[in-house]
Every structure is written in C-alpha cells, then in structure tokens.
Symmetry: none
Subunit: 183 residues, 2 copies
DNA sequence: TCTTAATTTAAATACCTATTTAAATAGCTT
DNA sequence: AAGCTATTTAAATAGGTATTTAAATTAAGA
C-alpha cells in the first residue's frame, strides 16, 4: 500500500485525571485558563510543545485535542497531570487514555471529477452539495470513518480511532476510485 | 465617430514593486498612510499631483487607483517607487504595470426613455430597476464592458482594460439606440 | 418529563462572501 | 451636504460553509 502522503493532523483523546476538580481554583492558578460556566461547562487550557488544548471538567474528566500524533497526546496529558500536582491537586496514577477521534489528510495526486465519483459511489453513503461545501462527503462502513474528497485529489479522513483506521479509509477510497477508472 | 465628450475618469492598475513590504514600517514613515490589519490587509496611501490612491500589500504587490489617465498611473507609480527608495526600501526595476479597469463618462446629449430602451435592448444583457438605482445597466459582450445609461443621456462605461474599450462601448450603445430610433 | 440540540476545542480540506480604494452617473433619505 | 443605492477591478485576509469526537450543562420542543 502506497503512502499517499497520509498525515495525521489532529488527535482527540479523553481520560480521567481525578475524582473531581475545582475549576475555579485551576483557572486562578493556570495562566491563560478560561472558565466561563455560562458559556460552557468546561475549563479551556492551551499548552505548547507539543501544542494541544484541554477541556477540563469538574468530574475530573479531561478532553485533550489538537495533538499531531498519539505519542504527543500521552506527553501533554502527563505534563498536565504534573502541572496540576504542582498546584497541590492530586491526580490518578496511570490514567486510562482513550483516543476518540483522529483527523488525517492525504493526497491522491490526481484531479478528481466529483460529479462522476458521486454517481459511481452511489447515493447511500455520500453527500455532495457543491453550493454548500466543495468537498464530497463519503461515509465508509469499514473502517467507520468519514472521508472528505476534494477535486484537487486531497482527502480529509475523520472519525478514526487509530492511525490505521485513517490509512485504511484512504485505501478504501483509492481502490474504489481505481475500480471505477476515476483515478 | 463623434466624440460624445468621452472622458476617462478613473484608471485602476496593479503591479509588483518588491518581493515583500514591511507595512508597519511604511505606515510609520509615510505621513497619512493607513494600515489597520483587522480591517483590511492592505496599507492605504493617497498621493496628489497626479491624484491617486495606493493599496500596498506585504507581498510587494500594489494596486493604484484614482488616476485620470494611463500616463498618470505610470507617473504616480514611479513616484511611489522613488518614495519607497527614499526610506531605504528597494523596489524592482521596470515593474510590469497592468491596467485592470477603466471608468469613463460620456454624454449622448439627448434625453433618453429608459423604459423604451430596456424593452428594445432585451432582457438578457440589461438590468433596470429605477426604484433601486436610476441608471439602466447594460452589459456588452464585445468589448466586454458595462455601460450605465441615464435618462439625461449621460453614460458611465466601466470594466474597460484600455481607453479604446470604453470608446467602443459608447459607440456600441450609440449605434443600438440609433438603430432603434431612440436617439 | 423526556428528547434533542446547542455550546466548546482542535485540525485538514476548498469554495464563498465580505472587506478597502477610486471614479463617473442620478435618485432617494436624513 | 452627506450617505446610500449600482457598476467595475486588482490586491490579501478573515469568517463562514462541512466532517469527526469526547466532555457537562442548558435550552427548547414534544
């Protein structure tokens, strides 16, 4: 299977770092933290190196997004736990980290006729409303991902739970386009 | 072909004067220069003798508008390059200047019945909504210009890439009105 | 009362709209 | 008198459009 410049662009993960958090205290101690309960129940905190953003909830659960790969997710979450410990907040040892969504980009290096593709792929799994959005939306059953197909040949794969999901999604699209003689 | 007081009123041209510009520096050095990045990505700078206005971009590209003829465009652009050199900014030698749009006015010296003209010219190339705008909008295919026709007999020709475009546009209108017995 | 939707965060992709500048013309409103 | 309506055109940027996903809370609808 050729690479097609598949690149993971965003990893979203969730975990539980404590039994509960006092978000008002965290907002006070973490520079840049945003907590506006009327607007959203979570506290927003952004970090760099690696770059990521956290949604922190009173339940002790945490959502981490923006990382470029799964390793970075583990790094920033560990950093986050350390930083919380630094202000006197205990966190769970070895939290169970679950990757919930991966977004990847790819490039088939070909100009695609999206109208022909829409007809060839059939209407059940696709949406193509060029007036609304220039990409063709293709929902795959296995792996269960959504692929945005652009006329430039570029793809966006989203919904993956692992990097392999995204790669397989690209391969499914490539094969189908090849079988239809549209690639 | 009679003149009909055709007068060029505005010439818009674009060119590239450098590989890049530091707009903050230019704004600081050029009195009257306006650069508000939130509002518009270009720096606005107005000059006189000849009168014109520049939009200057970080890419080194420049839009010049407001000049009354093509010669003035070349004059003010050369002046602009000199002024930039004066504050220590190098500019390209002999920049390629492209005239992008010319607006001209003309006077058929007759009172026109715009309703009759709208019917006579046919609906495909015209728009006439007097509640919205008093001029009849007439889009010509060749030359590719747009002529605003007013009941006073005055015309505005816009979209021309050369003075000849505008003159030909006036002639097309004059002939069609003459053929329809409306002039 | 239950269900659904929205809110927020990040990211790639690509197309659209709007922004700003100048000028003539002429009708309307403030 | 000033501003709007409409027309044209380059330049570059921002925001919107769409997709996915966790988390917790609120609002609206049935």
């Amino acid at each position: 299977m050729t690479d097609y410049n598949i690149k993971i662009e965003n990893v979203v993960a969730s975990t539980k770092l404590a039994e509960e958090f006092d978000l008002t205290k965290i907002e006070a101690e973490f520079e840049g933290a945003e907590y506006n309960k009327q607007k959203f129940p979570g506290l927003v905190y952004r970090v760099s190196n690696p770059k990521a953003a956290f949604l922190v909830f009173t339940s002790g659960k945490v959502v981490c997004t923006g990382a470029k790969n799964v390793d970075d997710v583990h790094t920033v979450i560990a950093d986050m736990a350390k930083k919380l410990n630094g202000i006197g907040i205990d966190t769970l040892e070895k939290p169970d980290i679950t990757v919930q969504n991966i977004v990847a980009s790819a490039d088939l290096k070909a100009v695609l006729n999206l109208n022909a593709i829409a007809i060839g792929l059939g209407l059940e799994n696709i949406e193509y409303e060029p007036e609304q959005f220039p990409g063709l939306v293709y929902r795959i059953d296995e792996p269960k991902v959504v692929v945005l197909i652009f006329s430039s040949g570029k793809l966006v794969v989203t919904g993956g739970k692992s990097p392999e999901n995204c790669e397989e999604g690209v391969e499914v699209v490539r094969q189908q386009l090849d079988n239809m003689g549209l690639l």
